[in-house]
């Protein structure tokens, strides 16, 4: 072999496959302003839609008069529920088995609800015309507090289903009650609680917030009446689901609908659902015969498209006096707003909230979730998390802290003695999940060592003393978190949305010269799929990632898949990609064996080629095989080199992590400063460490936002108080601290490449870490002080200090 022949490791490096911090291929266009987002799409003759929205949270709509709006030059049409009713499109099904008004049908149920859709020649005329639509409302009593939903004097919100005793998820006990979902063993858990050495109780509110992607939701609908085809461009995290739903709703055959998700400027769950804007744009395009564009402004987005969280979680956690947890009880009141439009798998109306036993070996547990209607916007989506996993992780990680206070124990030590042990995996949790793999003790010990945990606690004790001596006004909080996620929905045996199985797919075509295109059923919203999926494939088929195009988002070309949310792309579509790659390799092996004139079994795979066993100088590269597959007659083998895989995962994946936040709090101003944030993630096999780090930074920053200030707040009249970025907190570089990232690597045993998904872990683990730091800072200052609710903005932190007498 001469010196110029690349070594095996050089050949592997050239592939830029698994484990390579390959630069993101998407970024050359994003950083040059060459992305193609929904608002960049312009079609000939395109007109614009905008909504008349309700100023009232609850009111009867007595009349709508569009005469003056229609007189405004440039206004083409004003659609109301009366116009949609003949098409049966004035209501639409939600992903949660409920139905939702497309346009106000007799009443409005939340402020900002869509009342009429104005179509005009330009966006500004549409906005002007909205002011001219006269709507006569009769105000009704408003229900804002979900705890008051079932009181005698509570107004009935959903008159359309007031008499229905059964909903999509079982019995309903009140017109404002949606479902009760129970998991685990109620009586056994109550028995454990009543006989326990110690029981800690707390009500933990995970406030309502919003994914608030930089790009708001929008679409361009174009009905071509000549060929009967509907093209729908939109900000869709699940384009195939949108096409199927659009076909079922409209009656247009599925092959006559093309749904395209162009570049998407962040989704975070906000772009999973189907919104009135999409339906109205389609109808308006059918009515006018020209393309119709609808794009939300920021207020529209924050007021009307899907919110997240809003879980009131009451917990009881039982333990021995040594700190071994014996039982967990949780009752949650879930405020779903006016329509149940959560985007959860159908059998899980509270998502995977039953992952709330966390990283701990808890033998007995019970969970009940009550879904409630209120006069607020619908939603309840998974904002940078798998379905309700952030709520679950926040709940258990707060309960652990509360229990530590009750036991007068170190919260880190309490976690450690309760972790599920490495040899217990696969572990069956008390609330019904089979955790595939984990090594929590190794991760935890690494984290504690990295931050010098004992040193931090010593410093904190000194600080408390200094405060008592009057030497400082700044307290120190140490926020711990060990989270376990459940992502990659999911196995078709228990995961579907509206009956659509949650598999995903990949279709690969190798070109004759040895480059390739792979199409997937998912859609990137910034995650870097074009980079990472090419890396998975590069390692599987021995073609450089640079020679592989990844394409997603066009239902005319991409294979069917359920889209991107809940960290499912890598666990599901990533698995499909690897499996399709293996099919390519299997066929390639037959061709290579023929070319090398040996038996299939006499050759083996070596990075980017097949070599004859024991004679590695005799080989055929994948490139050579590709060319031969198209251009040479291979007996018994079809020409071409293509494969497709539809992957139904056997289980979810369970990424985990250990986070530590060290925060200084000024008790006189309520300001905080994050001195250290250490994030150790275990997402199984690491495909692209640079992208993982970027995902962790982004997720932590969203966690910072949620924990420290971001909220969707309503006043007592149901007015949405945080509908602009003046009131809705989005961190900038100024507020964002430095993050230290770290990892352990525990591959998933059932995933083809062992990957688990990572995009959402930092949000799931970050929120409890920030919140625990705030609460921990006050631990030494109140016997009964165990918990304060998020968001921990300056005012709330200041108020906690005041309530604890620290200003005296």
């Amino acid at each position: 072999m001469n010196e110029m022949t690349p070594t095996k490791s050089e050949r592997a490096a050239a592939l830029k496959g698994l484990g390579t911090s390959r630069k993101r291929v998407e970024d050359s266009r994003f950083t040059q302003g060459k992305g193609n987002y929904i608002d960049d799409i312009k079609m000939p003759g395109m007109v614009f839609g905008d909504f008349v929205r309700s100023p009232y949270a609850h009111a009867r709509v007595k009349s709508i008069n569009a005469e003056k709006a229609l007189e405004l030059p440039g206004v083409i049409a004003v659609l109301t529920a009366a116009d949609l009713e003949p098409l049966s499109l004035h209501w639409m099904p939600t992903l949660a088995g409920d139905k939702q008004m497309v346009l106000a049908d007799g009443k409005v149920l939340f402020q900002g609800q869509e009342v009429a859709f104005v179509v005009a020649e330009d966006r500004y005329i549409a906005a002007d015309a909205i002011d001219l639509v006269e709507v006569d409302y009769e105000e009704l009593p408003v229900l804002v507090d979900p705890m008051k939903a079932e009181l005698d004097d509570a107004p009935i919100l959903r008159e359309d289903i007031a008499d229905q005793k059964a909903g999509a998820h079982g019995a309903r006990r009140h017109p404002n009650h949606i479902f009760t979902w129970e998991q685990g063993e109620k009586e056994a858990t109550e028995a454990v609680l009543s006989g326990a050495d110690v029981v800690a109780e707390e009500t933990v509110y995970y406030h309502r917030t919003h994914p608030c992607p930089l790009e708001t939701c929008g679409c361009v609908a174009s009905m071509d009446k000549v060929n009967g085809k509907l093209t729908l461009y939109g900000t869709f995290q699940a384009p195939h689901v949108v096409r199927t739903v659009a076909s079922l709703l409209s009656g247009i055959a599925e092959h006559n609908i093309r749904v395209v998700s162009p570049d998407i400027g962040g989704g975070f769950g906000n772009k999973v659902g189907v919104y009135p804007g999409y339906v109205c744009s389609i109808v308006a395009s059918i009515v006018t015969g020209v393309p119709v564009k609808w794009v939300e402004d920021r207020m529209d987005n924050l007021m009307a498209t899907a919110f997240a969280r809003d879980y009131w979680m009451t917990g009881k956690i039982a333990a021995t006096k040594e700190g071994k947890i014996t039982g967990l009880w949780c009752h949650t009141v879930a405020d779903h707003g006016a329509f149940d439009a959560c985007a959860d798998p159908t059998k899980f109306p509270a998502g995977f909230m039953n992952i709330c036993t966390g990283s701990y070996d808890i033998p007995t547990a019970y969970l009940a979730v009550d879904g409630i209607y209120t006069n607020k916007a619908p939603g309840g989506v998974a904002y940078r998390c798998s379905f309700r996993v952030t709520e679950a992780a926040y709940f258990i990680e707060r309960m652990i802290e509360v229990l530590a206070i009750k036991l007068d124990m170190d919260a880190g030590e309490l976690r450690k003695i309760n972790f599920i042990k490495k040899d217990q995996f696969p572990y069956n949790s008390a609330l019904g999940w089979e955790f595939d793999s984990g090594d929590y003790h190794t991760a935890w010990d690494k984290a504690m060592k990295a931050v010098d945990y004992d040193g931090l606690r010593k410093e904190q004790a000194e600080r408390v003393q200094a405060f008592k001596n009057g030497e400082t006004r700044k307290m120190m909080g140490i926020g711990l978190c060990h989270f376990t996620e459940i992502v990659g929905a999911g196995p078709m045996k228990n995961c579907d949305i509206l009956g659509m199985g949650m598999f995903d797919s990949c279709e690969i075509r190798i070109h004759p010269t040895g480059s390739a295109i792979a199409r997937l059923g998912t859609i990137s919203q910034g995650q870097g799929h074009a980079t990472t999926f090419a890396q998975i494939l590069a390692s599987e088929i021995g073609i450089s990632a640079d020679d592989i195009t990844i394409e997603e988002g066009d239902t005319d070309t991409a294979p069917y898949g359920l889209g991107t949310y809940g960290s499912r792309s890598t666990p599901v579509a990533g698995a499909a990609t690897a499996m399709a790659g293996r099919k390519i390799r299997a066929k390639a092996q037959m061709i290579a064996a023929y070319l090398l004139e040996v038996h299939d079994n006499d050759i083996e795979w070596d990075v980017d080629r097949f070599v004859v066993k024991g004679a590695e100088e005799r080989f055929k590269t994948m490139k050579e095989v590709a060319y031969a597959s198209y251009n040479q007659e291979i007996p018994g083998v079809e020409p071409g080199l293509e494969a497709v895989s539809y992957y139904d995962p056997p289980n979810m994946t369970y990424p985990f992590g250990a986070y530590v936040c060290v925060m200084d709090i000024d008790i006189d101003t309520g300001e905080h400063e994050i001195r250290k944030f250490y994030a150790l993630d275990d997402c199984g096999t690491r495909i692209n460490p640079m992208i993982i780090e970027g995902q962790v930074h982004g997720g932590l920053t969203e966690a910072l936002a949620i924990a420290m200030g971001q909220e969707i707040a309503y006043d007592e009249m149901g007015t949405h108080k945080t509908a602009t970025l003046m009131d809705f907190f989005i961190p900038t570089a100024w507020e964002t601290p430095h993050y230290e990232t770290d990892f352990t690597e525990t591959p998933s045993p059932h995933h083809p490449i062992g990957a688990k998904g990572v995009g959402e872990s930092p949000n799931v683990g970050g929120v409890p870490a920030f919140s625990n730091a705030v609460n921990d800072a006050f631990r030494a200052f109140g016997v009964n002080h165990t918990h304060t609710d998020m968001p921990h903005d300056h005012w709330r932190i200041w108020k906690t200090a005041r309530d604890l007498g620290m200003h005296d």
Partner: protein, 150 residues
Amino acid sequence: MELKDEIRIAAPRDQVYAALNDPEILQKCIPGCEELIKHSDTELEAKVTLKIGPVKARFSGNVVLDPTQAPDSFSLQGEGNGGVAGFAKGGADVELAEDGDETVLTYQAKAAIGGKLAQLGSRLVTGTSKKLAAKFFASFAKELSAEHVV
């Protein structure tokens, strides 16, 4: 939102009370008032254009007076609708005390606003309301003083 203030008006109490019931004077003094119709001794209808922060809206509203304690005091309740801009409702208690030839008017008002007006203008609502109230009473006092002199 709550507002309260005390205003001294250089006119006798009966005259002040009469003026407060005079739609012509009220229309002149209410900032942005385009139309004021008196349907009865206790019912008024008004059209007012208001600008609070970035929201400009034309409100149409109804006001109901309770004059049972007049002229010592009276109260009023009202509500206005500004279309997509939002809505407002509220009430006020007004006391009129004689002080020689002059009258001391004190009022306590409570108002709630909803819709876009509350969302975008919330920081400005109280300040703007105070400014509008001050403007009303300044005009009102001026109007009355002029009348009194004449």
